[in-house]
Symmetry: C2
Subunit: 306 residues, 2 copies
């Protein structure tokens, strides 16, 4: 089976950890065990990953040391995090696979993702001018006047359009390399009027780019590994229910009902829908890292099909 | 012609610059112009680069913010710098080549270099004697007095033995990708007794790894671009002389005479000797970035042959 594994942040750094190199190294080594298990049973895998905590820390280091050193913009910090996480994953997976029989190449491709230029999106409820002012001050939110109906929070949310290194990633995947790419959703770039590429200070949704990468690679399965066991509906309510299977139709229905929080499960389910539309994609598994193998067989997590 | 271009630090950040993203972006765009000129005349190129100023700044950011965030070790910082510089080079070269006819793939491979430990090399900022003492005690760093300008941390500068991602780099190069690899000499790793790979807090000499990469790729020519026009003998003496051509024999003779400083031209000439021994290597050019094209034709810089 051809599988794109999308690793959540917890595959690298767990909630509550400080983020030392040792902690991350131990987590990544554990992640590599699960990935190696997939390779040993003959799956062909590509890997993409989140970078939230890591790029957050790099940004904060830049901010703290800005009196001494010129701070790098978000796109450059994102590229740094791709190097950092790619290295840790490569090293751990290479260690796990050993240098013997299972000597499949493992390589990270620093990746750029052209994205829409106007990367803001209003989210959440409408507020009055006074409430908007308070939220700006207390939370640092960007608030805009929306359609004359009041004020709303806007968040950067560029839509990935392409992956600049797609040819390279495809070529490596097709020739048997475990390719790690489009980390953190890729570094968002835009093309100026004169054709020059420019980095954008924004963060791409890694789940959204994972769907694009999965289609680009023509994989059968997108395996989204996160810190929950399954997708739930009516979460936190008396009639809460874990879902073993969902169709794309059900996904759309639940999304419309607002069943999935926009910061966590929402983008994953949207990504599943996108991956299964207009592509070779047959199946999406959403599961915990520990259940990766079982989820691939539909024996754990939530399996989404057309 | 198959050419490995080894970019000196000044191709990315020039002496005396602060190191802002804008400065680096402008420098890298200029570098990309010269690289694109080589591609347009039909050369097949791979690229490697130094990372001294960048990894130094990342280390210093880690140091300054250590009360807030756990500092990353040198190997992880090196991987970050590969992501950062690879991204900037890719973006600039992609911009320069445009999206039209010359649409050759450009990709950075995060690279690990298994290495011996022994020699040493100063890295990062200068400290006072008092700070140096504290760092020795608190971190166990080795500190040396460097050129009378203060104290610096010294790290092992091991000999590169192999490039873990060699198969991937070769495959991409052979199929026409402009591959950027082994940045900063690669992240140095060693294999523990149990076969696990471990990062080493060390800096590899990029010139030394460039020779290894050039042999690995089987290129004809290694083009070392730096901030001087040519190799000199009797530098700074009344009989100072710039060399248009050198043989490997002459290189060895001059090296034995101590003609080349160990921090700058020495490793480049050693790298040339290494590249031209036991390989397909026919020629090494040492020249300034601006003279890249002419140097390839033997009309600028110093040309070294067997």
């Amino acid at each position: 089976m051809k599988v794109l594994v999308s690793l959540g942040g917890n595959a690298i750094l767990k909630h509550g950890q400080k983020g030392t190199a040792e902690e991350q190294s131990v987590n990544v080594q554990n992640t590599a065990k699960h990935l190696a298990a997939l390779l040993r049973r003959g799956e062909r895998i590509a890997i993409t990953h989140g970078n939230g905590p890591q790029v957050g820390n790099i940004l904060l280091q830049n901010e703290i040391s800005k009196e001494t050193l010129p701070p790098m913009p978000l796109d450059v910090c994102g590229a740094e995090s791709q190097g950092m996480i790619g290295y840790m994953l490569q090293r751990a997976l290479r260690s796990e696979l050993g240098s013997g029989a299972a000597n499949v190449p493992v390589a990270t491709i620093v990746s750029q993702t052209p994205a829409f230029r106007n990367p803001t999106k209003p989210v959440g409820p409408f507020y009055t001018a006074k409430e908007a002012k308070q939220l700006r001050e207390s939370k640092g939110w960007r608030m805009i006047s929306d359609s004359g109906r009041g004020y709303r929070r806007v968040v950067p949310s560029p839509t990935p359009l392409d992956i600049l290194e797609r040819d390279t990633i495809i070529r490596l995947f097709e020739t048997g390399t475990v390719v790690i790419g489009v980390g953190g959703g890729g570094v968002p770039v835009i093309r100026d009027k004169d054709g020059k590429l420019r980095g954008v200070e924004a963060v791409l949704d890694k789940d959204r780019t994972a769907a694009l990468l999965g289609k680009t690679l023509g994989v059968d399965t997108l395996l989204i590994l996160t810190d929950v066991e399954q997708v739930f509906i009516n979460y936190g309510m008396p009639d809460q229910r874990a879902l073993d299977r969902m169709t794309v139709q059900e996904c759309k229905k639940y999304l419309a009902e607002g069943q999935f929080p926009s910061g966590s499960m929402g983008p994953k389910v949207e990504s599943a829908v996108s991956f299964l539309s207009d592509s070779n994609g047959k199946r999406v598994g959403i599961a915990s890292l520990e259940m990766a193998e079982k989820a691939l067989d539909g024996r754990a997590g939530t399996t989404i099909t057309n």
